[in-house]
């Protein structure tokens, strides 16, 4: 099985350790969410995975083969990010043709269908498109190139609610017809969490969380009640965040819980992914 493997990866920019000793594996045919606050190293990681930049140390392999100077391996990946690689004078149609020349087997049929759905005029020049439509053009290319790994760095940048809706639909559509690996970074966690198989959460250049969404959600709880009760109930649990309203407390817990609440007057609810990630990124910041 072809897999992407990241081995002891470090990246230093201007004496700053942007990525610290990263080890990761990406399985085939799964949708990954690469999540984290601004500036934690998500884009750097994606650039490294497609060798747009070179690592300070460590290496990345596909199916056991180092990607460094390896065109065969790199040909299996496509990265969408905020860089515009296309000349502004190219028409959308020409961009599709060009991609076909580079990668081969471009899915023109699906590209046409998506362009229609998004209302993208194929005869317009790339430089004349609005920010949102540039993103749409790049999304369509990303969904129609015949690669095994599609990396989408902030694919919803500049998209309105309706276009984001179309994007999620198109993603499921193309993934259902041709299951392949998608690695997606996004700040719209509530919108994207239902689509994911796996979550990788980066904070300060380190992997904080790396698991299937199912297991993560199984261990994420919000426990509400009077402060004393909540404190007592969570005394042996991994508390990652707290919210107090007078004496009414909610403690956020990332741990295994068996629903033994009989002797406590508390409410145990699930915590959503967004809350979990906010808690995890603030650990250690408060006293």
């Amino acid at each position: 099985m072809t897999e992407i493997k990241i081995n002891d990866l470090n990246q230093v920019f201007n004496h700053q350790n942007v990525l610290k000793n990263i080890n990761l594996e990406f399985k085939n045919k799964a949708i990954y969410g690469l999540l984290g606050n601004n500036g934690v190293g998500k884009s750097t990681l994606m650039n490294l995975m497609t060798e747009r930049i070179l690592p300070t140390s460590g290496y990345i392999s596909i199916n056991g083969h180092n990607i460094h100077n390896n065109d065969v391996a790199l040909q299996q990946m496509y990265l969408l990010n905020e860089d515009d690689m296309y000349s502004p004078s190219l028409k959308v149609r020409q961009i599709f043709n060009l991609t076909n020349e580079i990668y081969g087997n471009f899915n023109f049929k699906f590209a046409k269908l998506l362009s229609k759905k998004f209302d993208l005029n194929l005869s317009l020049k790339f430089g004349k498109l609005s920010t949102g439509y540039r993103t749409i053009c790049k999304i369509i290319v990303a969904f129609c190139v015949p690669v095994k790994y599609v990396l989408l760095d902030e694919p919803t940048l500049g998209l309105d609610a309706n276009h984001r809706n179309l994007f999620y639909e198109a993603l499921i559509n193309t993934y259902s017809h041709n299951p392949r690996t998608f690695i997606i970074s996004s700040h719209l966690i509530n919108e994207i969490s239902k689509l994911l198989n796996y979550v990788i959460f980066i904070n300060n250049g380190k992997i904080i969380l790396n698991n299937s969404i199912e297991i993560i959600m199984k261990n994420s709880f919000a426990i509400t009640g009077s402060k004393d009760d909540v404190k007592q109930y969570t005394r042996n649990l991994n508390v990652i965040g707290k919210r107090n309203l007078g004496k009414l407390s909610t403690f956020y817990v990332y741990d295994h819980i068996n629903n033994q609440t009989k002797s406590f007057n508390i409410k145990i609810e699930k915590m959503n992914l967004q809350r979990l990630l906010i808690c995890l990124s603030n650990i250690g910041k408060e006293g």
Partner: protein, 122 residues
Amino acid sequence: MDLNFNSTQPIYLQVANEIEEGILNGSFNAGTRIPSTTEISTTFHINPATVLKGMNLLVVKNLLVKHRGRGMFVTQNAKEKIKKERQNNFYQSKIIKIIREARELGFTEDDLIKLIKRGYQH
């Protein structure tokens, strides 16, 4: 079918519940095909594996049956089975909660029975 993901249940269970709901209220009758995994995942932006897990739960419970290449179909006595299961769970899932809340509000047993009777008269 509408899925509300603010709920505290895992999504695959919500998918299963919603399909059960549809069978119960007559949207999906015995012998008819339910929407495909792709249709459901595209409509609600859910990972297809999650949808499939919810559906497989219903296959295990014998409420749906897979016809290779044609999709998932509602079994003959699915509706009865769901009703039965929900009747069995009614005390655990509903009554206990109502009593707990009634106690917090200071209602006695008699008060609660009176309220239930009032509900039945409407």
